[in-house]
Symmetry: C2
Subunit: 403 residues, 2 copies
């Protein structure tokens, strides 16, 4: 793409002409609507394209229209932003990004969380089951997943209230009850489903791009002490269901062509439904900041399972897809010690506190801590595109008079 964008795009902006991510914004005093980020601006699509699909508080209507329409709208936006002759009519549809409020970009249907990083799963296994095989027997045969709470998906910037709950008691004692003392983050990548599929059918691993519209960042806040007490045998529940934060900009798959990469070599043969003909590994470079200081740089390219394999697995039993279904990768961790996507791994379950550049130390999150996760990916011609950020601050629950 050699045509120039007439909207100024600063050199370090994540939102270049090659990106064009979608979100929902509220202009000052105006109703929420769909916009596309370009440089330091947000383009009001309903106005720029004269299309009511975008005059709504969620992307869902557009998501439901399918891949041909997604591509058509992307081409139209690219044309608007490169054809300087139309500038006078498009400019009134541009809002300065720092003057609008970003909202939850889609109305979530079901939310599924996977566990697709071998490094993360193996580290957790080593901590919780020392002396045993780090991975459970099925780990390399299928992408493990479970359903989360879609009602507590919140957009970046929303405060996260520290959850209360029961934790494992000492032998013979009653389970303690109170605020979680081991509140953690999980740096993840999320996938937004546009095109639905009927119950009783499967979505093939190579049909990924027909169903998934785009990608965003996720912080799957986790209370490790609640989880340790509750999770056998039916999995995490209250340890996760209090809040899951998502970034406001959904980067379309069509912007990620240069980011596609082969996943790591498979060390176990796969069932045919998981054998992918196309590479849907993604070379996304994540960065996790705690109170503004980098604590980790997890590489998404190290994920064992691709999002295309996650989708194929999620539907192989005949489960239907709805527009707005959302699934996340699970914690993104690479092989290196500074590539781990959660504090549980970084501090080895609290044993080795991490020292931040400002000299403060942490095992798990304290009230007032702010976590921000960002990511960039290769764009065309050596450029990079970015995902913006998912950010959240931990706050205490209001005072209780009783437990």
């Amino acid at each position: 793409m050699t045509s120039r964008c007439w909207v100024p795009v600063p050199e370090d902006s994540p939102f270049t002409l090659h990106n064009l991510p979608y979100g929902v914004f509220a202009p000052d005093g105006g109703a929420p609507r769909v916009g596309v980020a370009i440089g330091e601006h947000v383009l009001d699509l309903a106005r720029a394209l004269d299309d009511d699909t975008f005059a709504r508080p969620a992307l869902n209507a557009f998501l439901a229209q399918g891949r041909d329409r997604w591509r058509d709208v992307r081409a139209k936006i690219t044309a608007l932003l490169t054809d300087a002759s139309g500038r006078d009519t498009v400019e009134p549809a541009l809002h300065r990004a720092d003057r609008v409020r970003m909202l939850m970009p889609f109305e979530p249907a079901d939310y599924v969380d996977f566990y697709a990083s071998e490094h993360h799963a193996a580290n957790i296994g080593r901590m919780l089951r020392p002396g045993q095989e780090p991975l459970t027997p099925q780990w390399k045969h299928l992408p493990i997943g479970y359903h989360g709470r879609s009602g507590t998906l919140v957009v970046s910037g929303t405060d996260v209230v520290r959850p209360w709950g029961q934790t494992r008691p000492a032998d013979g004692a009653e389970p303690p009850f109170g605020p979680s003392r081991r509140l953690d983050i999980e740096a993840e990548v999320g996938f937004v489903v546009g095109t639905p599929s009927p119950r009783g059918t499967r979505v093939g691993v190579d049909d990924f791009a027909d169903h998934v519209f785009g990608v965003c960042l996720v912080n799957d806040w986790s209370a490790r002490d609640l989880q340790a007490w509750e999770y056998v045998p039916l999995g995490p529940f209250l340890a996760k269901s209090f809040a899951t934060s998502v970034s406001p900009w959904i980067v379309p798959l069509d912007a990620l062509g240069a980011a596609r990469t082969a996943p790591p070599e498979r060390t176990e043969p796969l069932r045919p439904y998981l054998r992918d003909g196309e590479d849907w590994g993604l070379d996304l470079a994540l960065e996790v900041r705690l109170n503004g200081q980098v604590v980790s740089r997890p590489p998404f390219s190290a994920m064992y399972w691709t999002p295309a394999q996650m989708l194929a697995h999620m539907t192989v039993n005949g489960a239907s897809l709805r527009t707005g279904d959302f699934y996340a990768s699970g914690t993104v961790s690479g092989p290196g010690p500074r590539e781990r996507g959660c504090l549980m791994e970084i501090t080895w379950n609290g044993r080795d506190p991490v020292t931040l550049p400002d000299g403060s130390t942490r095992t798990f999150l304290e009230d007032g801590d702010e976590v921000a996760i960002t990511a960039t990916a290769p764009g065309p011609d050596g450029t990079r595109i970015g995902f913006g950020e998912v950010r959240g601050r931990v706050v205490a629950q209001p005072l209780r008079t009783e437990d």
Copy 2:
């Protein structure tokens, strides 16, 4: 209540004047709308009450209006059905139940499934962990739950497509892949949330009736062989997500006053947030039929955890509630051998086939099998009310050319 209902109600009808359950029906050639069951008829509420809240394809708008409104509408319907002087104006709003089609009664938000029967959990423990304590250590301290897939909640009468998936391999072999060979039922009771609650707050155990509108029956179809391979450490996923059937009529809590009962004695002290001041055990008598033949009569009164405790636990971490949230009890099993709510218990994991009255035998479900679950409860003055049924037939997936 001594006033008489002018709509004829057969003596064995589950839908007496004391019940008045809500559902969504489509009259022949008409748009879906909210109705109330009375005897062999369905009352079109939008027409009978001249109220647009009910001219919709889901109960959600009414559910969101809260408890005072629920009671007000119930009183109005009772008045309409007992005041014979208004008969001429109400009769045109009555449809014969056998001439309408029942639809999914509410648009589900999140779906949570609990594991609240001690008899069920202990039986599963004895089968899967022989020689160990049947219950996991936290079982009597909190109601264990996990999130399910709300997108595959289906109304009674919907065929259930047998799921395919991976199962546990013999040592060193590849995991087999194919249709589940251990497809099971779980007879459960479900609870529909009306009044929402904000994130970061809790719903107290005694606020149950302010938030939960009503009760229905659930069949949580389960593929035991898929579950055994996938569920450690994050819980059931594909084993459950292909379909969960619900009965079409939601019995309001206000109809269940005579069914309320104390739960079984607690053998462990409870944290204050789970200590209930009101009895929300429910004396519901379930009946499970396989191809028309009774295989089990599970008593809901034997459940260790009440629905009020489930709700308090689900929100104690600050998780919000949305209108349309739905949660189910988990398999209802009583202490007796013919009181078990799933085939895994009835046949002791397939070891002891059950012989049906017609001489056929089953371990797990075969294609073509139809399962129906019904329930009744005490009404006022020695009467009984009923829940109708949740029914579903197992069908094979269409032929595959590859796995």
